[in-house]
Symmetry: D2
Subunit: 347 residues, 4 copies
Amino acid sequence: MNFASDNCSGVHPSVMAALAAANEGHVASYGNDALTRAAEDRVREVLDAPEAVVLFTATGTAANAIALGGAVQPWQRIFCNEDAHIETSECAAPEMFTGGAKLTLIPGEGGLIDADALDRAASFWAGEGLGGGKPGAISITNATEWGRVWTPGMVTEIAAIARQHKLVLHMDGARFANAVAASGAVPADVTHRAGVDLLSFGGTKNGGMGVEAVVAFDPELADRLAFTRKRSGHLLSKHRYLSAQFYALLEAGLWLDLAGHANEMAALLAEGLNSVDGARLAHPAEANQVFAVLPADAHDRARAAGATYFKWSSLDETDQDEVTVRFVCGWNTTDAEVEALLVALRG
Amino acid sequence: MNFASDNCSGVHPSVMAALAAANEGHVASYGNDALTRAAEDRVREVLDAPEAVVLFTATGTAANAIALGGAVQPWQRIFCNEDAHIETSECAAPEMFTGGAKLTLIPGEGGLIDADALDRAASFWAGEGLGGGKPGAISITNATEWGRVWTPGMVTEIAAIARQHKLVLHMDGARFANAVAASGAVPADVTHRAGVDLLSFGGTKNGGMGVEAVVAFDPELADRLAFTRKRSGHLLSKHRYLSAQFYALLEAGLWLDLAGHANEMAALLAEGLNSVDGARLAHPAEANQVFAVLPADAHDRARAAGATYFKWSSLDETDQDEVTVRFVCGWNTTDAEVEALLVALRG
Amino acid sequence: MNFASDNCSGVHPSVMAALAAANEGHVASYGNDALTRAAEDRVREVLDAPEAVVLFTATGTAANAIALGGAVQPWQRIFCNEDAHIETSECAAPEMFTGGAKLTLIPGEGGLIDADALDRAASFWAGEGLGGGKPGAISITNATEWGRVWTPGMVTEIAAIARQHKLVLHMDGARFANAVAASGAVPADVTHRAGVDLLSFGGTKNGGMGVEAVVAFDPELADRLAFTRKRSGHLLSKHRYLSAQFYALLEAGLWLDLAGHANEMAALLAEGLNSVDGARLAHPAEANQVFAVLPADAHDRARAAGATYFKWSSLDETDQDEVTVRFVCGWNTTDAEVEALLVALRG
Amino acid sequence: MNFASDNCSGVHPSVMAALAAANEGHVASYGNDALTRAAEDRVREVLDAPEAVVLFTATGTAANAIALGGAVQPWQRIFCNEDAHIETSECAAPEMFTGGAKLTLIPGEGGLIDADALDRAASFWAGEGLGGGKPGAISITNATEWGRVWTPGMVTEIAAIARQHKLVLHMDGARFANAVAASGAVPADVTHRAGVDLLSFGGTKNGGMGVEAVVAFDPELADRLAFTRKRSGHLLSKHRYLSAQFYALLEAGLWLDLAGHANEMAALLAEGLNSVDGARLAHPAEANQVFAVLPADAHDRARAAGATYFKWSSLDETDQDEVTVRFVCGWNTTDAEVEALLVALRG
């Protein structure tokens, strides 16, 4: 009954097998190998983006920071939701990689971005002088930090604002697989065709060991991204082991199978919460995360039964008889675990 | 009728005279001269802080960025009002000088900081893990960007939160003279005795040509600040001309006379607005800035009469029949100018 | 016949087995797991440094940059050999992680550091004013970029200079295992007991998949290093897979067995070059790298026979009938490969 | 008898007069004033560069760092003489403003740059992979830190290398006036017509109070430079007082008169050293600096007579019976001072 995070899950057997298969003899280092070429090609194929630049790296923070560092000037502002991972959980990595750009926080239900608020902020800062710092990028997270999913239409709306103000549009896709599996969208439709310029395409949380892809749909960014990855120490020497992971995940749709399973488990859990007295969802559970408000006694029972998950605090929270919690389902979450959790919660 | 900014004012004759007087022969450069020693001593005396480190520099952005850069780690958060100059008007200089620290915006009426909101934010981020970035400093502006003044008691309340979370407390005193003149506070009482660790003590807006003092009440910061000033190019070679300005301002209380006059002019203007139909103050005019909401026709009349001042937009503004404006009075604003402005506004 | 680099080698079977064994169920992320504790403890044990701080990361550039970034101020100078990896091959990562510190290059035979030259440089810059930037650290590489090995006595000589000038002494140990295996030194004797403050302890080149340990012998550096690793995106979420690698390498002396084997192969090759007409060693081959000057025809024969290795250019090189090359032996280099290479070279 | 530095000189009376004249009433701040436009135009006129971008700032370190920061990426290398001011005396400001670019030191007699060595270094680093960091810029100092002067032909030779490797060519002209006065070159001929892209045009050492101009001959750099100046705190609010200085210096050729005078005094001193037993020039004294090797007793006599100047140490120096010293002549150095110094030296 571990619902702490999808990064507490292990590595999918197919990925382990791919690592073992890649472990043959000498291979050129730093990504100059055939498997890396193949994995990059597979990413381009899945995204239907033959010109895209693809760079693998080992962590999600690295992917986001390299993407933003390669596209944003130090005197620019990056607009993101006030609960965006790049703001709350990456220890100012975007600031480090951009040389000091600012994150400007925009409200938005469930980690989405309110388009009107974004437009107002972008217009305001575009109108300010040198001192204000100029709008440079928008970063959205898909699926969001609160488990919501961006559809192509929603992305298009944000992208229109990006175009109007000449902003780069970045998508933090640490849970991109879950988002795609949930929405059923064609990957290209929810990214470059909707106006996304840069994608952090996550593999780690979805059965990988530690692999993310930075994808730039504008090939002009290739050099800046390559140098940014290198100077931040994120170009792995035995690079084939990153590539093997991503290749395995993309092969035969494994990435969508795993993410789809995790989403299903989350849906099962979310639905089951209806039968827990006093419990309610804090946000619609659209992907593989379930944010719930629990009566304190239900929470206590679940913990007593050995369930692992995080209380999810927020700045505005006041202590009370209820507890806000996050349950994350992974590729290896089982029906039985969900059922056991629900049994405990129901008491 | 120029109310655009106190940095549009010229240099006070006494400061010009001091520059001329300092212009004698060869003098050691980079601050190794007697006049610099004297000016530093005078700052320490005025602040009743014999151990304080004093560094002069030419701009307010430099003073703030050097102060914060010398005290804050790149993985820390600096709490400030959402309209703080360091956030809105310094082009990410604090981020540059700290190596990428984050500004975390706290609400507060009129540029002040709501103590409860600050405490909640500091507690929240202190409780987060590595990813959150740790609370590192609080920066308050006195007088604020909306013309409000911090009293010793108000600073003490913020300082208590700083102490509790081990945060450095910085005061952006670009208009420190106006604040002191307005509150009548003893300078030491509203700074180090109230818990301020670092002060940006402004001279430029108050009759100087271009001079600010970074003051660290903790002498342990001396080295960090000195290197930060040097590596940012803010140690002037012919340093005596900075020192001469500050010395002249502090001599015989000139700084408080000039600031007091500017404050009086602002009070006169604020009071006079009572007699302008439909006009009202947006914030109490406690120092030398007057923020007012004007009927559109009054605004038009003032502009037509040749008055210079800025419309003061904000993110939340919606277009309407009223205009929010800022009038700033300086050491050289005259009663006649204020009167002429009021006449124009009244129509 | 691949002598291109030890990072072209695969992963040792024991490390692969350890990864598979670690792949069980849910485990706390970000290093908060038992295996990470065990691996850290094992590092401390091997180094006989019970108080040491240990942080795993995936690349050698990251390890060096985190170590230096956690110990050096932006206004300081880091002294290193003019051919140090941190200068030639890390794309200014040390500059990025320190916020702009300078590398000051010191001559030294074979990548070692000339103690007199170091002392002169440290004394010179210590004597300069603010503008010079202050000496902050010394970084030595063991084994060096030219295959030389630091003994405890040699390190002690450098450490004396470090102590005199209050400099941090960092050892880039990307090939630390090879150095230890070559010198037969007790690991503690060639590191902290000789005066080393920070060690980058390499695992990747020595049979790992991608793992290095940053080791700080001064526990006061713990926080700075932890935040530096986090904000640079180098804290892996599924951290157990880093720990599993390092644990496996340190278990039962595997790290020294593998490095010792690589060293032996290099010695075999170096000795064999005696029988290649016109070939000579460019530097003593003390660890697992062999730098040789080859007659052009020998080089052509080796390449024709399918041998893979790099020509090793240098700034001072002039074209001629000879070619300087680097042969690197890894844990998986075989006698047969060495023999085949020598056969080809001999013609 | 002060020969310590030209930044120990005071401000020329015409510059003081210009400051006083500029001190009239309210003027738009941050450079949005007529005097600033006029001063910028005058710089463009003097340089015969109608499209050039001109930004004034208060220090030479700022000018250099803004110029380089606006033109160089963090993963690039800046080639400069090993004694360049940007390497030895600016506390890593170029590293700070570029976000961590490296300075790569090139030998060259008297602070000049050996073209062959430069070409080799540029070719070498261009040929290295990502890890090497790419060549980005060349910075030359005119007049050099050892008092040598670049002629148009010498600059053209360096510029050819810059063009070949697509490098930006920057000229640190803290003593540009002295260089131009010394060589008699047309300013345009020794800058943009010879291939210089960026010029730091010094005013401070040549009779100013604190003013330098960053000049970009490529107008495309305008935005990057403007934001870099702003975010580093180097855009002065009461900007007219910078502009007034530079305008005064350029008016009626004052800048060349003052620099020419300083050069003459240096020539007088250099010639006079012929008659000091055992003294010799360390470098040809081509501009306003005289580097001399003095017998210890001559040095003692000069000091005893009250002469102020610096011993000029270098890394390679060994103590002996001779002393290397620097004498700098300024706009206000007199024949009598030079004569008095020579008298003292002769004994």
